[in-house]
């Protein structure tokens, strides 16, 4: 197998502006706390749009966890959480952020204590217990927003219930922060959010080009604004710049991975501590032209929110969010993606931390091979904890997998 050892994927220019976006966001977080203005900790299944409209600063510990992961801080922070009695088997995001909460260590020092916390049940059970630990340590009022796991869709009594839960959450936040929801402001935030999501959908769609204009690492890096800045003007301008740049690459026929021989799909979160692995694989002609993780913010799962009825519309999105539906939907998504992106094979990152994402992958791999004839391989690892990732073994498995693809072609 030929490799191009001199090759490094060309970074997007938008990655530079992303850095300043993140810096400004963290500056705002600390300024909010210093000025005594309200803030909230949310999990990614709770839309930040409500909070921008209420002028309550939204912070996502999962985002922060990923940042610590990328800086390889998880082992150190996890050890602190473990010393407090939290198991090393818990999701590495939990161990990472609790490490900061308990010790004040981390890239930004101690995080400001939020005014309130809200977690929705639409990703995992672990989120709820994570928030509880923070609630107990800091005494932060915390609300669980119920979104019962569904098979495929949130409709009928389920949607009514989730909507009532969103309304319960809004009143509770108003009561605990002293802020009120400004309906007009919410409409404007939702309008901006929809605009940005359309741009994101375009970026995802542009990855269908042959050759693909970006690597998976490029796109994973850009998750931060999709999670934490939706509905802000800077989010829209950033997404526009990103879309324009990716589109220009497609127009020029730019190949993010020259000699793109293997168009693969990445399932699950990436190893944040080792995004370089995508660059190394590029040397073998591999590009992950699409992934399932970033689809969670794509049009399929987070379609436009109805400006005239945002609460119900958000409830629908929360009730049937990416990790709140079951295997049938995941299979449907994978089948469509392998077809639309002309994928040769699927790498299922079996993420030790994330049970809802991972525990269906064996079955999905088998079904995908059977129904779409596309091979898949399970790669054991973790999104944040390098101690749970045997890189050498993973590379070996990937190389064998490429041979499987080659033999299928022959």
């Amino acid at each position: 197998m030929s490799t191009r050892s001199d090759f490094r994927p060309m970074r997007l220019e938008a990655t530079e502006s992303l850095k300043s976006l993140i810096k400004t966001y963290y500056d705002d977080l600390f300024r909010t706390a210093a000025e005594g203005r309200p803030s909230v900790w949310l999990n990614v299944g709770v839309p930040c749009e409500f909070f921008y409209a209420m002028d309550v600063f939204p912070f996502y510990p999962e985002n922060y966890g990923a940042a610590c992961g990328a800086m390889k801080l998880t082992p150190k922070l996890s050890a602190i959480a473990e010393a407090h009695g939290f198991s090393a088997d818990l999701c590495s995001y939990i161990r990472t952020t609790l490490g900061t909460v308990f010790s004040g260590e981390g890239p930004y020092g101690q995080l400001p204590r939020p005014t309130v916390q809200v977690s929705a049940m639409n990703s995992c059970v672990a989120i709820m217990v994570w928030w509880r630990a923070v609630e107990r340590h800091w005494g932060v009022p915390t609300l669980v927003l119920d979104t019962p796991l569904v098979r495929e869709d949130s409709t009928g009594i389920n949607l009514d219930y989730v909507e009532s839960e969103v309304r319960r959450m809004l009143s509770w936040v108003e009561e605990h922060t002293g802020r009120t929801m400004d309906e007009e402001r919410l409409r404007e935030v939702v309008r901006l959010s929809n605009e940005g999501k359309d741009l994101w959908a375009e970026v995802l769609d542009l990855r269908r080009a042959r050759p693909c204009p970006v690597t998976a690492a490029d796109i994973f890096t850009h998750m931060f604004p999709m999670v934490a800045l939706r509905g802000t003007p800077q989010y829209v301008s950033h997404l526009r710049a990103l879309r324009d740049e990716v589109k220009a690459r497609v127009d020029e026929g730019f190949a993010a991975v020259p000699d793109e021989r293997y168009r693969l799909l990445w399932d699950n979160l990436p190893p944040w501590f080792d995004l370089r692995i995508f660059g190394e694989l590029a040397q073998m002609g591999v590009n992950f032209v699409i992934d399932t993780y970033t689809q969670a913010w794509g049009p399929r799962y987070m379609g436009p929110i109805d400006i005239d009825d945002p609460v119900r519309s958000f409830a629908g999105y929360m009730g049937a969010g990416f990790l709140n539906v079951q295997i049938g939907k995941r299979l449907e998504l994978l089948t469509e993606l392998v077809r639309d992106y002309e994928v040769d094979g699927v790498v299922f990152h079996s993420d030790r931390s994330c049970k809802p994402f991972s525990l269906v992958q064996v079955e999905l791999r088998n079904m995908l091979l059977e129904r779409a004839g596309v091979p898949g391989v399970l790669l054991e690892g973790d999104h944040n904890d390098p101690n749970l990732f045997d890189r050498e073994r993973a590379m070996g498995r990937l190389e064998s997998f490429l041979e499987v693809i080659d033999s299928g072609r022959a």
Binding site: H84, G85, F86, S87, D89, L90, C91, I94, M121, C124, V125, A126, M128, V129, W130, R132, A133, R136, V144, D146, P148, L149, V150, R151, I157, N158, D160, Y161, S164, E165, R168, Q326, I327, G328, S350, R352, K355, P356, S358, L359, V360, Q361, V362, E363, M367, L378
Partner: protein, 426 residues
């Protein structure tokens, strides 16, 4: 803190063994005039046999009644809903067997208890079931459901979109509506329509059996009745395996003619955790000189306190949950002491402390199933709450397999000694 005496070993002394016909008990006040000490001994032997092979009991009941059976996996699923269809409910208990086939379908970091359930289906052990109903309960069981559903491991597979929040009126109303929808699908899938009268009867029958288990637990806690923790767990497994009437009759016999025995000098502790079906493991824990005098288990004290308000329903009185059996059912199941997968969490800690206080236990043994996220994250909190009350707590992590290891015995003995020494200092 109440400490045990030094040198304690083994489970309660005098606890009868199956078939120990010579032991004599005496009837408790108000017990049936008929019967004899043998009645209680026979009842206990029956519970032990059912717990040792619950599927054999299911096969026998099916044979006797000619009814279909639907399995379920956690104690938040109201078995009354299944009974309302004239179908036998069967809580699939964890076997603790080592025979793993699930590795071909699900990764090893799904908790071993959940994989055990899947293994049973993959081995074909659950062929007696016409259906299976899941709730989300936890992320491991959710993964098991995905495999079960796509592999069609039972002809009918369903899923209750269960609430996590337990203390709101809207959650009760929603769960009631959801149970109706599940019931409609079950009726169509099994061609077995539900009947509200039967639902009420089922709730009454299940109330009776749960109340009797509560009575058994209370009498154990007050040392009025000496039954080893292992036998108590056998009763719990039997409670969701036998038909309610059969179980109630056997447990009534056991309560009326309790086999004699003194708690002995084993150190009394409360067993805390999720569902715990492994009688052999409990016996081996007690073999380290501990006595499981009370429990804080999803399949034990957090389950048997469910009481559906049937009396007012039957009389057609009242409004709201007293007028609608589905709401009464939802209310009863949501207001039990919550498991760590439910919200809020502090009532669980209150419940655990009350189990310790009521039983005079010397400490808490927290059995943590490997990869059980919610319990792993709850442990430091429970430890601290117990610590604030001066109650020693000890955690063991395991796979709910076999009878435990020698290492476990050694650690448990160290725990016992630690409590006994601190008791001596007081």
């Amino acid at each position: 803190m109440s400490g045990g005496s030094n040198g304690s070993t083994g489970p309660p002394q005098g606890t009868p063994t199956a078939g120990s016909a010579s032991v004599a008990g005496s009837p408790t006040p108000g017990s049936p005039a008929t019967g004899s000490p043998e009645t209680g001994v026979r009842a206990l032997a029956r519970f032990r046999a059912v717990a040792a092979d619950p599927l054999a009991e299911l096969a026998a009941v099916k044979e006797r009644t000619g009814l279909m059976a639907v399995g379920y996996f956690d104690s938040y699923m109201p078995e009354e809903v299944i009974m309302a269809h004239g179908v036998l409910p069967y809580r699939v208990a964890v076997t603790g067997r080592e025979d793993l086939r699930s590795g071909e379908f699900i990764q090893g970091f799904a908790c071993p208890a959940s994989r055990d359930l899947l293994d049973q289906a993959l081995r074909g052990d659950l062929a007696l079931l016409e259906g299976a109903v899941f709730t989300r309960y936890c992320d491991s069981l959710r993964g098991v459901f995905a495999v079960w559903d796509s592999e069609k491991l039972t002809p009918y597979v369903d899923f209750v979109r269960y609430p996590t929040v337990t203390k709101t009126e809207s959650a009760v109303k929603y769960l009631a509506a959801e149970l109706r929808e599940v019931s409609a699908r079950m009726a169509a899938a099994l061609d077995a329509p539900a009947d509200e009268r039967r639902l009420l009867d089922a709730a009454a029958a299940c109330n009776r059996k749960r109340a009797l288990v509560a009575e058994l637990a209370a009498r154990r806690a007050s040392r009025d009745l000496a039954l080893s923790g292992a036998d108590y767990l056998a009763v719990l497994v039997a409670a969701t395996t036998m038909t309610p009437d059969d179980f109630t009759s056997e447990l009534s016999a056991l309560l009326a003619w309790p086999p004699p025995g003194e708690p002995g000098d084993a150190l009394p502790v409360v067993l805390s955790g999720t569902t715990f079906d492994n009688v052999a493991l409990a016996a081996s824990i007690e073999g380290a000189g501990l006595y499981l005098i009370a429990d804080d288990l999803a399949s034990g004290s957090r389950w048997y306190c469910v009481n559906v308000e049937t009396a007012r329903l039957a009389a057609g009185e009242g409004s709201g949950m007293y007028a609608d059996p589905w709401e009464a059912l939802a209310h009863a199941y949501l207001t039990r002491p919550p498991c760590s997968v439910k919200e809020p969490s502090s009532p669980r800690a209150d419940h655990l402390i009350s189990q310790v206080r009521r039983s005079g236990a010397a400490g808490v043994l927290f059995y943590l199933t490997k990869f059980c996220d919610s319990e792993q994250a709850e442990w430091p909190y429970l430890r601290d709450r117990l610590g604030a009350e001066g109650i020693p707590a000890f955690v063991v992590e395991g796979e709910q397999k076999g009878a435990g290891s020698g290492g476990l015995q050694t650690r448990l003995e160290a725990f016992r000694e630690q409590i006994e020494m601190s008791g001596d200092e007081l």
